[in-house]
Symmetry: C2
Subunit: 136 residues, 2 copies
DNA sequence: TTATCAGTTTGTAATGATTACAAACTAAAA
DNA sequence: TTTTAGTTTGTAATCATTACAAACTGATAA
């Protein structure tokens, strides 16, 4: 075997092509919630024939199969995340970095949505991060 | 005098033109978090010369002046809200309605972001609403 | 009053992200 | 080898948003 990511994709019903493995590895190893554009340009070096359409298609498959998620933290920039446990995101308006944080969703809303069937939860914060704060 | 919305806009540093008053009134009276498209087509009746560009411009001004906010609850559909107190949104995947709910943000994240300066908070839930649940 | 001027509105053109589509390719099965 | 299903690629189409400049408006100054 020797290829963990390939096996992981197979387990999730995704045929592990070279492109798919590379894209998933990149998403897994990169903690900055990359966009389609940044994934494409990061991989274009090792895969010169890579098409942006393939990046779009592959990410859509990952999301459909539940091994990645899309984060629309700002109009007109969709970012992707291989860390799929429910968690919140903080976006720094200075350095544009996106940080993860843990959220206790239950405590935050009480019983207001008791008759609603909740399938997905997102929390986004915006502001200035610690590191940017220290520079001023 | 006699025009509350006009005065309200003036108070917030916005010159109260006919278009701006109508757009703000619509946003205020409509609880369904309308899009640019739905605002435009709702008002096009009474203001036949209305331009979609004016709707975009006006909403941008409202947001800059802090009397409205943009909600990107789903990729490729930006919605607008005149209710600017911090609150959460639930989007029904069946009827596509967007519901407001109250959120206790402090309790939800603890002290994880203590050194971060938080300027804006958003919470989005997705699922099936009560009314759609009852139909099945 | 008329002339001027800043701000507003409008229509059209440009942009840019995403999607549609069909041809080329790949790898496994028959 | 041939077939076939699935994958990748490049190009074209779509669609929301933005840029831009001309037309308009309403207030102010002469
Ligand atoms: Mn994350
Ligand atoms: Mn709302
Ligand atoms: Zn920062
Ligand atoms: Zn519903």
């Amino acid at each position: 075997m020797m290829n963990n990511v390939g096996d992981f994709l197979k387990t999730n019903g995704i045929k592990p092509s070279y492109q798919r493995i590379k894209i998933y590895e990149y998403l897994m190893n990169t903690k900055d919630h990359p966009t389609v554009e940044s994934i494409y340009s990061a991989l274009n070096g090792q895969i010169p024939t890579l098409s942006k359409t393939t990046v779009y298609n592959t990410l859509k498959i990952f999301i459909d199969k539940g091994i990645a998620m899309a984060i629309t933290i700002d109009d007109n920039e969709v970012r992707f995340d291989a860390f799929i446990d429910t968690h919140g995101h903080f976006k720094c308006q200075e350095c544009h970095r996106v940080y993860d944080f843990h959220v206790n969703f239950e405590g935050a809303i009480g019983d207001q949505l008791d008759d609603f069937q909740i399938l997905e939860q997102q929390m986004f914060f915006y502001g200035i991060c610690r590191s940017c704060n220290e520079k001023s």
